[in-house]
């Protein structure tokens, strides 16, 4: 104790507390004409130095709500009873006679029926028990009035509960903080008062005056005010991390338009023109214009012949007459593979491409379905690439991208690949989760563009990965409009699941 040093502000606070004995902080604010923030910071420091003691008492009070104020001249059931006590009244006239709104009237009638005080007979409302009716709810009305006056009268618990339940009052909690000195008079006298530096200034630095002062200590327990830093959206950040991983293993990004021709989305990908996925109910179509233009390129006729008879691809074809008008129809891109299809028309092997694409499907929106979601997918082409390479690519995605150690493959189906694979990766907690799909583009897809090597095509369910990492169960939260979540959520440096 003997060496305790305080600056004059803190010392003054301590002195007043010491002099006045236990005192409420709120009274201290008035007494010292000091702002509450400074006072509380001082008390915090003094408490930490064990120079004073802080006692907190919880005070509960009840305040009237707007409804409560309106009920001061009588609760709804009282107003109804006061009318009915004179004589029975047709139900339809009751609103006018009581000056109550329809909803208040319904509430009041409900209360009275429950209490068995009234009956409705042939459209007339009667009192059943006049004696009880006279006194009904009076205690509640009185209790409300007492609370309004803040008379301090003790009110029965069950009345408080009823008032709370009927939203006439709200409960408020307040803490009364009392502080008292821990020191004897002599101990107080021994404290050395020395002014300290609050803010270091340029002047102190240049004239060296800082050398003769102490720095005012900050309480290590006080939380600072919040700053909202600039912050990237967590899902977009996640996608950037994913892109970084893909670039790391040699993929180049591709992009494409959101409004797409059926040609790139379906015909190039060898979906026959009467394929169910091409029906109006499975895609989102454009109002105006409904159709785009097909370029006059050689590959258009190659694609057409491949559909009709297999062209020179070694395929037997779909065996129908291909309609260029259908291929020119516009739609909002339902799959990212449309971008791969466009890339095939100009890419020179060997190549590795990826795209992160927003795609659109006419689904009913719920926790697992969205009209709009993201797909990350890509293509790989090289001279001697094989099905085993495809499995290798998928495995490396699971390991590199998601940090999974074990993978599992199942046969899958896409109209544009053969063979087709589904990839599951083992999550340390959740077990195997479906991670993506892939396959080797059919020769009918790539050969119309003069590509003679196999092209591997793959896709990763990025939305699902993100939800797994962030513990999100509802896919709609990817597009969360909750600013608080965007500001407060933690950030990650990678996308690994572990």
């Amino acid at each position: 104790m003997s060496n305790t040093t305080l600056n004059s502000n803190y010392y003054n606070i301590l002195k007043i507390i010491h002099k006045n004995g236990p005192i409420l902080v709120s009274k201290l604010v008035t007494a010292m004409e000091i702002d509450r923030g400074t006072l509380e910071a001082g008390i915090g420091v003094l408490e930490e130095m064990q120079l004073l003691q802080k006692d907190i008492e919880l005070v509960i009070s009840y305040e009237l709500t707007d409804r409560g104020f309106n009920a001061l001249d009588g609760l709804v059931e009282r107003k109804i009873l006061d009318v009915l006590i004179k004589n029975s009244v047709p139900f339809k006239d009751l609103a006018e006679l009581t000056h109550l709104t329809k909803s208040d009237l319904t509430v009041g009638i409900g209360i009275l029926k429950k209490a068995n005080l009234i009956q409705i007979d042939k459209g007339n409302v009667n009192i059943r028990d006049e004696e009880s009716a006279k006194s009904f709810s009076i205690d509640l009305t009185n209790a409300l009035a007492e609370l309004h006056k803040k008379s301090g009268l003790i009110i029965e618990n069950n009345l408080i509960e009823q008032l709370l339940e009927r939203n006439l009052i709200i409960r408020q909690e307040r803490s009364n903080v009392t502080v008292s000195s821990n020191l004897s008079d002599s101990e107080l006298k021994k404290i050395i008062v020395k002014d300290t530096i609050t803010t270091l200034t340029s002047k102190m630095l240049s004239d060296g005056s800082w050398k003769n002062s102490d720095f005012k200590p900050y309480s290590l327990k006080t939380k600072p005010r919040k700053i909202y830093s600039g912050k990237l959206h967590p899902y977009r950040q996640f996608l950037e991390h994913l892109k970084t991983k893909l670039i790391g293993i040699g993929f180049q990004e591709m992009k494409g338009p959101l409004v797409e021709l059926e040609f790139w989305n379906f015909d190039v990908l060898y979906a026959p023109q009467d394929h169910p996925a091409r029906e109006d109910s499975d895609i989102l179509l454009i109002k105006n214009p409904t159709h785009g233009k097909l370029q006059k390129e050689e590959y258009i006729s190659n694609v057409a012949q491949t559909h009709e008879n297999g062209w020179t691809t070694g395929s037997r074809g779909h065996g129908y007459r291909w309609d260029p008008k259908k291929a020119a129809r516009l739609l909002v891109r339902p799959q990212g593979t449309a971008i791969s299809a466009r890339t095939l028309s100009h890419a020179k092997p060997p190549f590795k491409y990826f795209a992160n694409a927003k795609v659109f499907r006419p689904d009913q929106v719920d926790a697992t379905h969205q009209i709009e979601f993201s797909q990350t997918e890509g293509i790989i082409c090289g001279p001697d690439i094989t099905f085993k390479d495809l499995l290798g690519v998928l495995k490396s995605f699971a390991v590199e991208v998601a940090g999974a150690k074990e993978v599992r493959f199942r046969p899958d189906y896409f109209p544009f690949t053969s063979p087709s694979v589904e990839l599951s990766a083992k999550h340390p907690v959740l077990g195997y989760i479906e991670f993506g799909g892939a396959g080797i583009f059919r020769p009918e897809v790539v050969e119309p563009f003069g590509i003679e090597h196999p092209v591997l095509a793959w896709g990763i369910g990025v939305d699902r990965l993100f939800m797994t990492k962030y513990g999100i169960n509802d896919i709609r939260e990817l597009y969360s409009q909750n600013l608080d979540w965007l500001r407060e959520g933690r950030v990650y440096s990678n996308i690994n699941l572990e």
């Binding site: 065996g319 063979p419 597009y479």
Partner: protein
Amino acid sequence: MVTIDVSIEDISKLIGLDKTLSVDDLNDLLTLAIAEVDSDPVGPDENGHTKIAIEIKTSNRPDFWSAEGIARVIKGKFGEEGLPDLSVIESKYEINVNPELLTIRPYVAAAVVRGLTFDDFLIKQMIQVQDKLDFSFGRKRKRTSIGIYNINMLESPIEYTVVDRKFKFQPLTFDHDLTVDEIFEKHPKGIEYRHILDDFKKVPMLIDKNGLVLSMPPIINSNDVGRVTTQTTDVLVETTGYSHQATSQALSVIVQTLRDRGGIIESVKINYPDNYDISIDITPETDPIRFDVNIKDINKYLGVNFPGKEMVKLLRMRRIEAKVIKDKLTVLLPPWRKDIIHWVDISEEVAIAADYNSFEPTPVQVITAGKLDKSSDDENLMRQILIGMGLTEVFNYTLTSKEVIGELMNREEKWIDSNCIEISNPVNASYAILRPDLLPLLMKFLSVNTHNEYPQKIFETGECVVKDKKKIGTRLMMSTVLAGSNETFETILRILDRVCVLLGVTYELKNTELNCYIPGRRAIVIIDGIEAGHIGEIHPELIVKNGIEVPISALELDLSQISTLNCPVKYTNDI
């Protein structure tokens, strides 16, 4: 994708197992049918059936859309290999086709199946196969549809003919005769499927020698011969459609499921008239489809080195017959395997039989340099600049409502018509238009966050779609809004000014009439001489309309118009 309901006990029995499969074991075996378990099991019920849903992922393997078909391929793993039984006995039944059908619903295929013993469960399974084939394979009955009749009531020849719309018969579930027109008006199936026949004055009808009506394909069966019950043992199965191949494929798929239930199959002779390019057709098809493939091609494609004999063994497990002839395989497929159109499809069968998990994955050997698209680099640059100024990034849907784009931004219908891409078949009004810019979405964002602490400083960069000069372009845009009691034209201009300094461009502001902003506090942004966006203080009327109670200043830039960025418009018609 097709989902069917099966009984685990029934499918185990069809596979020929002594005991009932566990759900996990069933799911493992379903890889052979490119399918998986899609529900929790329910049961067993009083008939000993534990029901479970199975999702089949292939849209081109209708033979997998039944318990029988799935069991058929799984059996290949348990020793029943090679082609399934395709044998057919000749029946005395014939169908004569009317020449007028060529332009209406030209093709018919049929078979007689005898010796069936159906309980309610099996009738439901049969109806399920029929429904899935009609709906998915048959494109909601337009391409093909199936009819099944009690053959003991019928006499050959059966006429596949046309009648006018006054023709009357008693359709299924009705107790009196209706004309064709009445069926189109009143019968639920008539209402559902009439569009397939609406264009024709005459409609197809199947009528037996004695004038008994079988059905009006593809709409509705008659109420007597067209009703199959647990008493029925012998049936006529027919399919009609506009494609000869699809019609006979649908028939062979359903006939094979009935064979798997113990049915004996008999053929039916179809007599086509002179105006057709076929004259006589014996159905169902019994000849396997032949395919010749190079063993070397398959090995190279899969990255393996299977000897021919090994491939034969694997293909036989897939219920395919194969023979090695020198360096080639001659492959014989069941007649319904129209999905196999290229030798790569044979290689897929080999791979599935060998089990994907038995292949050693090889590391990627294609060496290439990875990089982002330039527009992504530049978009990220913009995001970094804005983050550096303390803004929070938000991420909105690209599809939104006309109200958000139009009314809540004081934009007229005419402006929307000439600039925006609307969806002609939206699922609901909240997702009915592609956003032409980002500011409306940010306003919407502010409107649902009025309870959060101000100031709210947010931005978004992202793709928008704009119609211009009859071209549809996907453009990368950036918008920033500042909402709070101290936000003004000046505070947002500071952001534009900073962005331009960091991007090395110069900007000037030009007066504008844009009515989302307060007059005198609004401008078009010209960057290096090119109009690139707008800036201003949001009009109080709009702030109130959006349910917000603080001043808002806003900026929107089209990144494709900034010369030092490389974010070109992606046109739908460009390559």
